[in-house]
Amino acid sequence: MGDLKVDPGEIYKSAGVARAIGEDFAKPCQAVVTASQTAVSQLTGWSVAARLGQVAGGWAPVLSGVGDRLKKTADNLTATAQAYTNNEHANVEVWHKQKIGEAWEKPGQ
């Protein structure tokens, strides 16, 4: 494991943007599938329309996967930032709970 240096705040921020990108990107993805299906239904008998239907059908789950990818990225970044924050809090707690005094001090002082 290399050096651990991290700013949880920055990770939270990136997570938020990743989530927003995923949500925004979902709109044109859905529109492409809908518009392609409409064209297919309007152009029965044209093989190019049938091919468009196949292509759009193939891309639909892939585009949906891109959206999921961005959402999972946001989830992972949020979890990572939370873990770093929790870890830091836990470490601070350790130092608060178990104060280390000088040798002449009584325990608990």
Binding site: L4, A18, T34, L43, G45, L52, V55
Partner: protein, 556 residues
Amino acid sequence: MSNDFELLLSFDPTGLHDAAKAWRALSNGAQSADNRHRNQVNGPLRHSNWEGEDAKLAFTTLGRTEQILEIVHVESAAVALTLDTVANRISQAQTNLKNAVHRAEEWGLTVGSDGIVNLPPLSKGEQNDPDARSDPERKALATLRGDAQDRINKALADAKEANDQGDRALGRLDADILTRPRVFGSTAETATDVKDVAKDLGLADPYVPDNKDPQKSADWWKSLTPEQQSSYLALYPDKVGGLDGLPATVRDEANRLALDQELDGLQAGNARGSGMTADEYNTREQNLMKLKEQLDQHDSAAEDKQLFLLGFDAKAYNGDGKTVIAMGNPDTADHTAVLVPGTGTTIDSTHGNLARVNDMQEAAKQASKGTNQKVSVIYWLGYDTPEIPVVQAPNLSVGWTARAEDGAEALRQFTQGTRVAQGDHHSHLSVFSHSYGTTLVGAAAAGGNGLGADDIVAIASPGMTVQRADQLHIDPSHFWTGRAADDSIEYAAGLTLGDDPMIDRFGGNNFLVDTSGHSGYWDGGESLANQGRIIVNAQPTTVPKVHTNAPSVRDH
């Protein structure tokens, strides 16, 4: 197609055009998502010093997401192009078909629902008249019938061809490009797909200006609709990215995509069959990787530190490559400086030269502190720099002006293009050069109508192909030169590349240099501070010109 005739008559292109619009919106959406991801997700994390195993895994994932978005960007633009092309062609065929039917009916012919053209039926009396069929008028009508049938058949054939071409082209653009498991090659495949689709559709090479007149290029770009512009950016990035006169943001977007496509192709392939030796192949791949790393490192940077890739060509000059990168947007800057490097500079030297560009920009900001003025500094490696003779002993091109003369026009065009892209916003433009770069700047400024710069700066110059500053198409009071006391370039100055710009006879101003050696001008001190002052049109610290009685190089 079943009953092609009726199918074509009832064809409605709206669905295909609407679908094309949606695919184009997807392409733009992917491009926008990619940009935001690079600058607001990945970039800030890279700058946040996040390290460790988790960071490595995260950055790999984030990089792959950007690659996926780039692929969607190009593939969906190609689908949109295909659908629009097919819709337009079938519509044209439909118009031709309707015209042919209309004409046939005008001639008194009838057209069946199967598209067959018929002569008008003979009347009962004519049916029993053996001469009626050989009547000259009816014979002429039969000829017209053949003509009308040919037109109808042609329209049907054109529609079928357009349909088949579109079918074939769309077949290339399925989602397999992302679902096939592989590490490299998908991004490069997008460029191949675009070429193949254009071939399938029988499209001629898209018109792109010849890049000899920046104003012409800019006018062409402005004449395109936003849809056409986004198509050009996605489908022909290598043709658009190098056009002087286009906005920096446009060139940057195009060049980054072209860079990713070329690099991915190299990473997916090998030297065999490439026309390169294994070493050449690896060098090119490494050079492009380093260039991409430089760009990635500046993602999410503050506005004035953002990099704009204005041009690159890893193949140029036998693989030495060329690259033009701006730090800060030159189209909107108050002050724009161009740095032309010298001997031995290749695409591999980008990192070091960007550090100089950064130093110059910081010095300029310091010199204009409190004014909030924006400064862009451009690294321009757009010529074949001479090799260092020590490395390539037989190559002594550093001693002659040929490389400078060869690259002069490109620099003139670049500075002109910078002005054109700025439009009404007239930035203070200074052209800096170092070592042999000053020879090139001299040749460029002296030729044609000059560089159109407000200031010209020659650092450590061995000569600028001219005898005097007033031969550089600039008021000599705006010519600046400097040389370190211990810079051995002094011994080459005034020999074969033109007169020494430091001497009094040359004219212009000498600025104070207090750093050491041939490459120390960006180390700081007054050497760098004076560059910053010149960039922002402030007065640098000057020193007297060097007095000499030596004859001009032209008099030798």
